[in-house]
Assembly symmetry: C2
Homo-oligomer: 93 residues x 2
DNA sequence: TAAACTAGTTTATATTATAAACCAAATTTA
DNA sequence: TAAATTTGGTTTATAATATAAACTAGTTTA
C-alpha cells in the first residue's frame, strides 16, 4: 500500500519553498521569487499556509525604506519535510 | 532555479498509478484500488487522463463474466516518469 | 508632479482532486 | 423466483487548490 503524501507539502510551490529553506538559514521573498519563478501572489499565499502549519516563520521588516519579508524553516517544518521525502521515495523507486 | 514538475505526474494518485505500473507488466483496476486506497471514481478519471497523454494503455475485457480493466505503462510513460523522478529529486535534496 | 518601480496583499478564476451517486450485469439470499 | 447484494466500473457534482490578475502603499526618477 502506498502511504499518502502530506498534502501541504505535495504542492510544487510549497515544496519548492521548503526545499529552498531547508538548506538556508533564511530567505527573502525576492529570493524565493527568483528561485521558483512563481507569481508574487501565489508565493504570498503559499507562505501563509506554511506559516499557519508552523512549518516556517515569517518576519516582516524594512530595508532602505522598502518592506522586507524574510522567511525561515522551523523544527516542525524540517521534520515534516524529511517525512515527506521518505514517503515520496516510495513512489519513485 | 527549480525546474517545474510535470503537472500530470505531480498528483498523488496519478503518480501512485505510474509507480505501480513502472515495476509491473500490467495491473488490474482492483489492484490499483487496493494499492492506492483511492476511490474507484477517482481512479477511473485519473486512468483516463494518463491514457489521453499516452502514458498508459487501457484494455477492457471480461473475466468470469465480469468486466476487467487492465492497465500498462507505455514507453512514453516510462520516459515521463523517469524525467519526473529526476526533476523532483532536485527538490528533495 | 506624474510616471514608473518596489514589495508585497487581496480577490477572482480556472483547474483539480475527490467523493457521491449512479449503472449494468451477475450472484446470492429469502 | 423475486428481491437484495455484489462486482466492476462510469458519470456527475462538489470542494479544494493553484494561479494570475488586480490592487495597495510607499519610493524613486524624469
Amino acid at each position: 500500500m502506498l502511504k499518502p503524501l502530506n498534502p501541504l507539502l505535495h504542492s510544487q510551490l510549497r515544496l519548492g519553498i521548503m526545499s529552498i529553506l531547508i538548506s538556508l538559514d533564511s530567505a527573502e521573498f525576492n529570493h524565493i521569487l527568483k528561485e521558483t519563478a512563481a507569481s508574487k501572489g501565489n508565493i504570498s499565499i503559499q507562505l501563509k499556509k506554511l506559516q499557519k502549519a508552523k512549518y516556517i516563520k515569517i518576519k516582516k521588516t524594512f530595508r532602505n525604506k522598502y518592506p522586507l519579508t524574510t522567511v525561515s524553516i522551523t523544527k516542525v517544518g524540517i521534520l515534516a519535510f524529511e517525512n515527506y521525502v521518505k514517503t515520496i521515495k516510495q513512489y519513485l523507486e
